[in-house]
Symmetry: C2
Subunit: 219 residues, 2 copies
């Protein structure tokens, strides 16, 4: 099976463009926790996620993190190929949250096809608009939402992604997702425990009352 | 003079595409303070700024504002035509900060050309990447920078835009740019006065010590 068909517009490319992609793309595997792309190193290439889960985040000057978005099977990561566009003036870091297999498309190959292919350029536009929407959601969250709402939303979202109400997450990991100090996370989790919404044990958070968490988000 | 040449890729379009744009684009004038686009109304069309200055911002559920970016002469506003792309899932509001003249390109016209024109699609990509960079800068600011740094940076930036160190700005306007309550702005401005960095009089802020403000940003 041709993994490049994960690219929704693959069939709209010319035969020669398809061949160019097929001859240059290659599969890479990353273990859980491994870095796929580091803000400082430009142009690692585009990643088309074949399986697994990626996390895209930014890091402050003094090492604090906040998650921008997650990428799942069939998602594509553009910003690991930021040299592709002059106007991308920011750094993003990508790690594997689970063992992950990606198809790497070299930046210069993708760029050369995009320059002449309206379908590929328009697909790229849609991907960028989708990430833009994620980041606008994030701004809405960090600007206007109180931390209890953000944490409740994060826990419910994690439970949806993992398909379980028992989450293996340290307080520090949650802090790195939400851009908050670990102590702030710990304090709010203890408040949730007192309210009977969750229970805590070593490295694990168990959701006891989904409706209660939803009520916090919407109140 | 054909105002559409403000579109950098105009000359890369086919004669027929150029004609379509010429026949559908029209000039509109907006007075200072007027709304060009309201988050709730989709697809006002694309705005190519001929003269003046626009402000793009988001509004929280309870009416608080934060500026995303500014648009100046020759800039183009994509997000006022958000129906153009399915993946744009957020609302933005645009107002004229000065008397402004724009060339309006109807969304469906722009979209129909972009779908077949690699140059226009790639130009759109670059514009979106540029706005994305603005928004990533904003996240860096609101997440990790203290309010004194943000306010000092804002005042210096305003002075650059206006070409003067005497700024006509209310504390509430500044609050709406930075996403902060007016009282927080007033308190920090008074601190800057005490430090000899600025002086305040009715509706006016005068920058007295640019280097002092720069030092705050970089400390």
């Amino acid at each position: 099976m041709n993994r490049l068909t994960y690219l929704p517009v693959f069939n709209k490319l010319t035969k020669s463009q398809q061949n160019t992609l097929e001859n240059s793309a290659f599969v890479r595997k990353f273990g859980k926790g491994e870095f796929l792309h580091n803000g400082a190193q430009h142009c690692t290439g585009l990643f088309l996620v074949l399986s697994g889960q990626l996390r895209a985040f930014t890091i402050s000057d003094d090492g604090r993190e906040i998650t921008m978005y997650r990428l799942f099977e069939r998602d594509i990561c553009l910003f690991s190929a930021s040299c592709m566009m002059n106007s991308i003036q920011f750094d993003i870091t990508i790690t594997a949250e689970k063992d992950t297999e990606v198809l790497v498309i070299p930046s210069e190959v993708y760029k050369s096809i995009m320059e002449v292919s309206a379908p590929l350029a328009n697909y790229t536009n849609e991907v960028m608009a989708s990430r833009f929407s994620d980041v606008m959601w994030l701004i809405d969250q960090v600007m206007w939402k109180s931390f209890d709402k953000r944490l409740a939303g994060f826990l419910l979202n994690e439970a949806n992604i993992e398909g379980t109400d028992t989450l293996k997450l340290t307080h520090e990991t949650i802090g790195n997702h939400l851009g908050s100090p670990r102590e702030v996370v710990t304090r709010m989790l203890k408040y949730f425990v007192n309210e009977g919404l969750i229970s805590l044990s070593r490295g694990t958070i168990r959701i006891l009352n989904r409706d209660g968490l939803k009520k916090i988000i919407n109140q």
